[in-house]
């Protein structure tokens, strides 16, 4: 019995550690942001990487003085990539009266949060909260579901799809679409088809397939199908194990086609895919570590050098730097963290990103407009990713004008 109790205590201690490991400090003079993302479960690596990038960005922003003389601070909550868990976490965020709630992973989570924030703000006009979306990409979130309280500081699926389709070389004439069967994957599929029809009507879609999210262990049968279809390019919005296993299986089976992905630059993929991806794996991204050199930008190079000195995975959160630069200016202009005032200040704001490109927070749908870089995974680069010896090399980039797409958002603004 004694031992059992010991076991139980060590068990609790382990979980206690898991919670205490997050940087939750109770300081008064900070601007707190409730940060909800998966820190356990199948996509824990994504949440963990995001958190590290945000800590780095906050160090950078706070060193510049923060906003209103206060530093920013994250209060983390684990949602296990479950909308239901995210809503429980959101309850804690509002209970603690935090002025901002931020979440990066899972469009289904983002969608649930938009509803929750809308409800909360209409019921508590004295204690409103702003939602910062740092990576939930489904286009619907700023179209059908758009909300005055929701700001997306990263391009939507639609914007990513424009870059993806425009960057396909003219030699590609047939593509195989394979996506995850949930909000994000369906959104990618829809927009990919739309822009293929618009920009590249010469490309034939030989197959349009969905797979259950994170359920497939063996992708070999899919590879047989792709092979039989004769497609020149596999166009996929998969991420995590669904992407890594797919590409591994493809290369092992000798499927020698282009692997044109939307998210192969996300943490872990480079390690899992390795040299198999050389020269045939491409992805569309907000930034990669070779851009500063390509653009001869010393300031950005310094930023990335600092990152590399302390981290062994790629920094891919450039729009999040822009996000905090904008937040600082908006809070300073508003003079407080009042949700309506900060939102008003953010609307239409222009801000140069690290590479000197002017990004715009569009007023109509609260979507950040920024450029995309399409890059290939190759050995011939200065900075590799995750110590694989391979890194990203820009092949194509879009402009903010390319990315300014019409929106269907009919925003309901607060009456006061």
């Amino acid at each position: 019995m004694q031992r059992l109790r010991l076991l139980a205590i060590s068990f609790l201690a382990l979980f206690g550690l898991a919670i205490a490991g997050q940087p939750v400090r109770a300081a008064d003079e900070t601007i707190k942001i409730g940060y909800i993302d998966p820190f356990s479960g199948a996509f824990a690596s994504g949440g963990d990487a995001s958190l590290k990038m945000f800590q780095f960005i906050l160090d950078y922003i706070n060193a510049k003085g923060g906003a209103l003389g206060k530093k920013f601070e994250l209060v983390t909550f684990d949602d296990k990539l479950q909308p239901a868990e995210a809503l429980i976490a959101f309850k804690s965020v509002t209970d603690q009266n935090l002025p901002f709630v931020m979440s990066c992973v899972g469009s289904n989570v983002g969608s649930a949060l938009i509803d929750a924030v809308n409800k909360h703000n209409s019921r508590n006009p004295d204690n409103r909260i702003l939602q910062i979306n740092c990576g939930q990409l489904a286009t619907e979130l700023t179209n059908e579901q758009c909300s005055f309280w929701h700001f997306r500081f990263v391009g939507s699926v639609e914007m990513r799809a424009v870059a993806r389709i425009k960057s396909l070389p003219q030699s590609v004439k047939s593509v195989y679409l394979l996506n995850q069967d949930y909000l994000f994957g369906q959104s990618i599929e829809k927009d990919t088809k739309r822009f293929l029809a618009q920009y590249r009507p010469d490309i034939k879609i030989v197959a349009d397939e969905f797979i259950p999210l994170m359920q497939v262990k063996d992708f070999a049968p899919y590879i047989s199908k792709i092979k039989a279809s004769g497609a020149q390019s596999l166009l996929t919005g998969n991420y995590g194990p669904d992407l890594n296993l797919l590409i591994k299986a493809g290369v092992d089976a000798g499927l020698d086609i282009r692997y044109d992905t939307y998210l192969a630059h996300v943490i872990g993929a480079a390690t899992a895919i390795g040299s198999n991806g050389e020269g045939r794996l491409t992805s569309v991204m907000e930034d990669h570590e070779n851009i500063p050199e390509e653009e001869h930008n010393a300031e950005a190079e310094e930023f990335f050098k600092k990152w590399r000195a302390t981290h062994d995975f790629a920094f891919i959160a450039l729009p999040s730097v822009t996000q905090f630069e904008m937040l600082v200016r908006a809070i300073n202009k508003a003079g407080s963290t009042d949700a309506v005032k900060v939102a008003d200040a953010l609307e239409g704001m222009e801000q140069k990103d690290l590479f000197g490109v002017t990004n715009i927070m569009r007023k109509e749908d609260h979507q950040l407009l920024h450029p995309y870089y399409e890059a290939v995974f190759t050995k011939n680069v200065k900075n590799d990713v995750e110590k694989t010896g391979l890194g990203w090399k820009t092949e194509y980039k879009t402009t903010v004008a390319d990315e300014t797409l019409p929106t269907t958002c009919k925003m309901k603004r607060p009456s006061s």
Partner: protein
């Protein structure tokens, strides 16, 4: 036809891998009555150990050492863990293994981090074995088949042709009688648990580099292995084998299938559109829900044959 042949091989490889995991679990479950939730965690440990050892002394030693380590861990779990909670009944044992899943998962994340490991197929096996209709069959897949086939043969030999195998078989059904005959039943239990863990570890070693070695791999594999065990039936290795191969084939072929349930009933003069009652569900192609088919089969077998395919007693 072209896809059929390749899929057959793919299904076989995947089925054999499932069997490696499920055989250990079914032995433990039917002999000790413990539904070992941590079985897939041991599989994950096998992959991580193999990665670590292969960075030090290469893949081939890892192929031997990592499963042995897993076996040792299994024995330790049985002797110092399960045996102590045993007298509190099955619920306690269940909860114990359930807790182990979290502890092992968290420990792996603390030691190796959350990123996938760069655990690669050894270069000596990294070539296409042969190709059918222009598609390569990687040599490593052949190697996986070889290892799992060899393991199947060894287990069968051990259970059917050796003295300890006889005792294990007897202890499966009549543990108190075996004990009364003077055999050390707890030791047999330890042996079986260690053996099961060893097999799971071995599966991890050969699957870890073929798929990816990461901290979510246990969660990914756990549920499907339970399906195999329940489907095959308690106390039957043969049933477990058939179920594994079946699940491997079902998952592989359902991916290739382009028909939906609506197509199945259309010859009877019923055509369904997405707007009809249940139409949206019935018109989804099977390939889109392929990996969920095993779970549907599990429900069917629980409804119509609760003791499983070849089970000797009710589950």
């Amino acid at each position: 036809m072209q896809i059929g042949l390749i899929s057959l091989l793919d299904g076989l490889v995947y089925g054999m891998l499932l069997f490696m995991l499920a055989s250990g679990l079914t032995l433990i479950l039917s002999m000790m009555g413990v539904l070992n939730f941590a079985h897939a965690s041991i599989y994950m440990l096998g992959a991580y150990f193999a990665y670590q050892i292969s960075t030090w002394i290469g893949f081939w030693p890892a192929l031997v050492i990592a499963p042995l380590l897993c076996g040792a861990i299994g024995a330790a779990i049985e002797v110092w863990g399960l045996r102590r909670v045993h007298h509190n009944g099955h619920i306690a044992e269940l909860l114990f293994t359930f807790g182990l899943v979290f502890i092992i998962g968290r420990a792996v994340q603390m030691v190796w981090g959350m990123l996938p490991m760069p655990y690669r197929v050894p270069t000596s096996l990294d070539f296409p074995l042969f190709s059918i209709y222009g598609e390569n069959f990687p040599a490593y897949r052949g190697f996986m088949l070889l290892i799992s086939g060899g393991m199947l043969f060894t287990t069968w030999l051990l259970l059917k042709k050796t003295r300890i195998g006889l005792i294990i078989q007897a202890a499966l059904t009549h543990p108190s009688m075996v004990s009364a005959l003077g055999h050390d039943v707890p030791r047999v239990f330890t042996l079986v648990f260690a053996g099961g863990s060893l097999l799971a570890g071995l599966a991890g070693v050969i699957a870890g580099n073929y798929f990816t070695t990461e901290s979510s791999m246990a969660d990914a594999m756990g549920p499907i292995v339970f399906v195999v065990v329940i489907f095959g039936g308690l106390g039957s290795l043969a049933g477990c084998f058939i179920a594994s191969i079946l699940m491997g084939m079902v998952q592989t072929f359902s991916v290739v299938a382009d028909w939906s349930f609506a197509d199945l009933i259309s010859p009877f003069g019923i055509t369904l559109g997405a707007n009809d009652l249940l139409g949206e569900i019935l018109t989804i192609p099977v390939s889109r829900i392929g990996p969920l088919v095993p779970y549907a089969l599990l429900i069917l077998i629980l409804l119509f044959r609760p003791r499983g395919l070849m089970g000797t007693r009710e589950t």
